[in-house]
């Protein structure tokens, strides 16, 4: 390519279209066009003029970056972010293996309540139960001994 040679009509049209679409910043250009466009700008003053015109306009657009300060939103957004799960310690993991369903405190509290109820029943009720049982045995013994209700209907006949 000859330096300072005029741009071909095709190159001029394509370069103008590139600047019309993407402006003058090379990082905005499609990757596949960068080398080609840079080469034209380096070797053709006309291409450089076109680029400079586009650059003026790009700098004007840069005056309005549209990045409003919204830092006040950061905390409310982060409050909804995923939270780190706490690592269960060894004791907790053993309990989890024993009772993998829900909170371990449910079965433990049920067992404890049943145990306490059993102990209370065992320590308070036996006196009454033993007493009743002894009376019943005594009545049975007396009935048998004295024969008040003794049935005298043996097959061989009444016993005198």
């Amino acid at each position: 390519m000859m330096p300072n040679s005029p741009l071909s009509s095709k190159d001029r049209t394509e370069l103008t279209y590139l600047f019309d679409c993407y402006g003058a910043y090379s990082h905005h250009w499609p990757e596949e066009k960068r080398d080609w466009a840079s080469n034209l700008i380096d070797h053709h003053p006309e291409a450089k003029v076109l680029r400079d015109q586009a650059l003026e306009f790009d700098r004007l657009l840069d005056q309005s970056p549209a990045e409003p300060d919204s830092v006040h939103l950061i905390n409310s957004i982060l409050a909804q972010a995923p939270q780190k799960k706490q690592q269960p310690n060894q004791e907790q993991s053993i309990l989890h293996k024993l009772w993998p369903f829900e909170s371990i405190w449910r079965p433990i509290s049920a067992l404890t309540t049943a145990g306490i109820f059993g102990i209370l029943l065992g320590t308070t009720s036996p006196a009454f139960l033993y007493q009743q049982e002894a009376i019943e045995m005594e009545i049975a013994y007396l009935e048998f001994s004295l024969g008040d209700n003794f049935t005298n209907n043996f097959p061989e006949g009444e016993i005198d």
Partner: protein
Amino acid sequence: MARVAQGDANACRLLVQRHLNPLVGLAMRMTESKSEAEDIAQEAFVRLWKQSHDWQAKAKVSTWLYRVVHNLSIDAIRRKNRQTLSENDRVQISENTTSTQKTQDQMLHQQDITRQVETAISHLPERQRTAITLVHHRDMSNKDAAHVMDISVDALESLLARARRSLKEILSESRKDLLGAAS
């Protein structure tokens, strides 16, 4: 994204810090309302959090976020009548997009340039605004921008060319003044 899915607070914070303002900017360009744009950006991140556990490694987070914001903005635009843009929001656009200035005079002049450029951009059709924002202001490749907008690269180029042509026309009267100040 794996770290985000595991609940790594630093990874989440970095992601939000990097992408929040540009996403709000795109949504604001599209909807012309800052409050709506902020809602949209928040919603995009909430969707990202939900998606993080099933994230596919090949997907690019930034492109995914822009696509969600783009789609949510389109939904928002369809919901409201765009002619009801309040003057308050227009002022917000200008106030929130000013860059750093050295002196008060420069600051005022800079604000004026920003306002004029932003107003010119706001006069473009929504798709042209989106295309120019993604490619020029977000440095997105033509393929990624086309993917975000769900159009072909040819269609994107057509939008970009028309957008730049329209902007040149809109800004032509004050262009010399603006360019002098911008350089």
